[in-house]
């Protein structure tokens, strides 16, 4: 695997998918991220509508990264965590995000598959995809795209997840590079930036 040289994770991008139980799991990963070494992070979290910016506020309380709901065409900047806004797909373009109201993909909007696939398409082997707790199989197709593009697939150890189905689905498909607990996932992300 090639490591892109850079100050803060370079052109790398971390994409995170989470569903049932995800708020706490995402918070736990973000809590340990070091804004000076972690690449930018994009999160697709399935959720009941918590209301505008509620998820961002909840997560901001737990991390030193800057947490924002992604706006259309927002630049992807280091030290930041971008959340898919409720009821929009979050898609990755070159250096920025795009939003879309395409119909839900396999019942989900935001769709983890859509986020991962678009990230794989643009960032290729510089994508790190992280699949966390959830009770469906969203993310598995996206992981396949990430692996095909040469990216890195980190999957939460299902035995540590509130709901094991989503990570288990990606593991069963043979797509996980590493199966880890939440603290180890955060450590692996921090290491990316440190390993220049």
């Amino acid at each position: 695997m090639t490591v892109m040289p850079s100050e803060s994770g370079g052109r790398r991008l971390v994409v995170v998918g989470a569903s049932w139980g995800g708020l706490d799991a995402v918070g736990t990963v973000l809590a340990d991220l070091d804004p000076d070494s972690s690449p930018p992070v994009a999160v697709a979290q399935h959720r009941a509508d918590l209301g505008e910016d509620a998820l961002a506020r909840a997560l901001q309380g737990r991390t030193r990264m800057r947490v924002v709901e992604a706006h259309d065409k927002a630049a992807i900047e280091p030290g930041a965590v971008y959340l898919a806004p409720p009821d929009y797909h979050l898609l990755v373009e070159d250096g920025h995000f795009a939003l879309s109201l395409e119909p839900p993909v396999r019942y989900s909007r935001p769709s983890i598959d859509a986020l991962f696939e678009s990230a794989a398409d643009v960032y290729g082997e510089s994508v790190v995809a992280v699949l966390l707790t959830g009770a469906n199989d969203d993310g598995t197709r996206g992981m396949r795209a990430v692996k095909r593009a040469g990216g890195l697939a980190l999957v939460q150890d299902p035995s540590t997840a509130v709901r094991p189905e989503m990570p288990a689905s990606a593991i069963a498909a043979g797509l996980a590079d590493r199966v880890l607990g939440l603290p180890a996932i955060a450590a692996a992300i921090n290491d990316l930036g440190a390993a220049v």
Binding site: E69, E93, A98, L99, S100
Partner: protein, 274 residues
């Protein structure tokens, strides 16, 4: 040539072909969602490649219709984002009242739910008889549906809730009549509306407006195209006219950031600075 490069080439050829043959210009649409929709159409048509789709749409106008519908993503609803409609009542209507007659452009109106929401709001604010709403979209199929003013009964419960959240002052059911599983909205609402086909990418300015509402349309454009279309919208506003975008759209990333002052940053309502 890698798979990815080949795909880029096929995509460019398809978009050029569609542009030259049918006039629709998707060349500067945001790639991520464009690719998803094209591949979806490839799969639905039972094809294998983007080149295959190119052949089909060039020789079969009905396939082009289907592709156009995919490209439209005409997802919409009445009083979508109720807080936006509440802000329209509180912050924009008072300014509109200062004009003897008001022209509004609802650009990218899709199947018309947003247009009817606006017409209801303006009637309740006592402006029904001195306003005209120009509702436009690039897609004739969705415009035809918009003109009918017929929506699904199933959604009325959600719409009623959002109408009230948006500051609605009457019984929402007074505005429509149910027939079967559908409802027809009060035809006198449509008297304030003009529906017309207009493509933001390829058509020019056609009037001057006091308020332009263009929500969740430009998210499908790339940054350069957004800048261009912002130019069209800006040129289509009267001095101190108002522009409203979707909740997650930002004017900050465009070249027109300085041309406007924020009326309501949360609701993405802007006012032409001069």
């Amino acid at each position: 040539m890698t798979r990815g490069e080949l795909e880029k080439l096929e995509l460019r050829l398809l978009l050029d072909a569609v542009h030259q043959h049918y006039g629709y210009d998707f060349r500067d649409y945001a790639r991520s969602s464009l690719r998803r929709r094209i591949w979806r159409r490839v799969a639905e048509e039972g094809l294998q490649t983007i080149s295959g789709l190119q052949e089909r749409v060039l020789h079969d106008p009905e396939a082009m219709e289907r592709l156009l519908l995919d490209m439209s993503i005409s997802v919409t609803s009445m009083f979508r984002d109720p807080s936006f409609f509440a802000a329209l009542r509180e912050k924009v209507v008072p300014m509109l009242r200062t004009y003897p007659f008001v022209r509004i452009w609802n650009a990218g109106c899709a199947t018309g739910e947003e247009t009817y929401s606006l017409a209801i709001l303006l009637r309740e604010e006592g402006m029904g008889d001195r306003v005209r709403i120009y509702a436009t979209d690039m897609n004739d199929t969705v415009l035809r549906r918009a003109k009918e003013g017929v929506f699904s009964l199933e959604r009325m419960q959600d719409y009623t809730r959002d109408y009230i959240r948006g500051g609605g002052q009457a019984a929402f059911s007074d505005y429509y009549k149910a027939f079967g599983d559908r409802v027809r909205f009060d035809p006198t609402l449509a008297e304030t509306m003009v529906f017309a086909r207009h493509n933001l990418v390829t058509d020019v300015r056609f009037n001057e407006f006091h308020l332009i509402i263009c929500r969740n349309v430009m998210i499908y454009f790339d940054q350069a195209l957004q800048d261009r279309v912002h130019g069209l919208l800006y040129d289509s506003l009267v001095r101190f006219g108002t522009l409203a975008l979707g909740h997650k759209e930002s004017i900050r990333f465009t070249t027109h950031a300085d041309a406007y002052v924020e009326l309501d940053p949360q609701e993405k309502i802007f006012r032409r600075a001069a």
